[in-house]
Symmetry: C2
DNA sequence: AGGATTTACATCGCGCACGATTTAATCGGG
DNA sequence: CCCGATTAAATCGTGCGCGATGTAAATCCT
């Protein structure tokens, strides 16, 4: 394929030219880099993301967590039960609207934040990218996500 | 955060500033976009990636598929058994090295390629990006993956 | 007011995905 | 030639992740 041409069909059918596969495999790579760091906190990677959302804003419903993380209640409910079992959060039905479950940090959950302080720096280091590059790439990918969900 | 500063710690702890989350959530978004297209082929998204690898080069071992896709045998073995059950591939122990399993396309597996012809175009369309942009972004993300796995 | 509809979460079944372990085959050194 | 080490898959247990479905509460509508 030359610079001026559109990719040929043969090119498009090669795995290495799939943007989705780049994303897919890089996502797995991130999970592997996070693993040893999160093992210290007894968290999985998705559980860590939930904690990040709660550290940012405590006392949210299952629905609002799902909206933030793009996850369904069928994914979150079991995850939240595990986090509750570990003592990091509590799940309580909302008094005024019993359909909703309010998720709040426990003391232990708030304390965990300090232990997790270094994680973003370690990860940023593993990317080998400069902060400004990271921000730009992140933004590009986020806007791709928006296109896909449109 | 101003243009000249490094991100503050508070910034770094916000979910929206996580490159990993952009990747994670965009990966899920891709899965959703692929779903209706792949339903026609009776394939899941990871199964489709396996088929793409085999369409590119038939007759591979479980190990080489895993190297290509960054997956372990514990993931591939059950997946390959499903694809075999659907009649798209066959799994046969290598005569000369009985430790290896050779994965080859069946006639039905090769035929499926034609039915899948339009998929890359539909996906490219859903990204809303120009071919050249797609290639550049894909390359950037692939090199990020390389850094992470180093 | 009260039945129909909508909303929020939970449950279930299925398919990844991995680490740890197991099994079987091959390789290598003495 | 044989026994220990290595290699390739498979197996097992755990945790996402989703769509379809269920359940109960809130809301809507006349």
């Amino acid at each position: 394929m030359t610079k001026a041409d559109s990719p040929s069909h043969e090119d498009l059918m090669k795995l290495d030219n799939f943007l989705c596969f780049a994303i897919y495999s890089t996502n797995h790579a991130f999970t592997r880099v996070y693993k040893p760091l999160l093992d210290e906190l007894d968290l999985t990677y998705p559980q860590y993301l939930v904690m990040v959302v709660l550290w940012e804003k405590d006392d949210q419903t299952v629905g609002s967590l799902g909206e933030r993380l793009f996850l369904e209640s069928s994914t979150l409910t079991p995850m939240l039960k595990r986090l509750e079992g570990m003592g990091y959060i509590s799940r309580i039905r909302d008094r005024t609207d019993e359909r909703q479950v309010r998720v709040t940090l426990t003391e232990s959950g708030r304390a965990l934040r300090e232990k997790a302080n270094n994680v973003p720096y370690d990860i940023a280091g593993a990317t080998g990218m400069k902060p400004a590059e990271l921000v730009r790439l992140k933004q590009e990918i986020a806007s791709l996500r928006t296109s896909l969900l449109r």
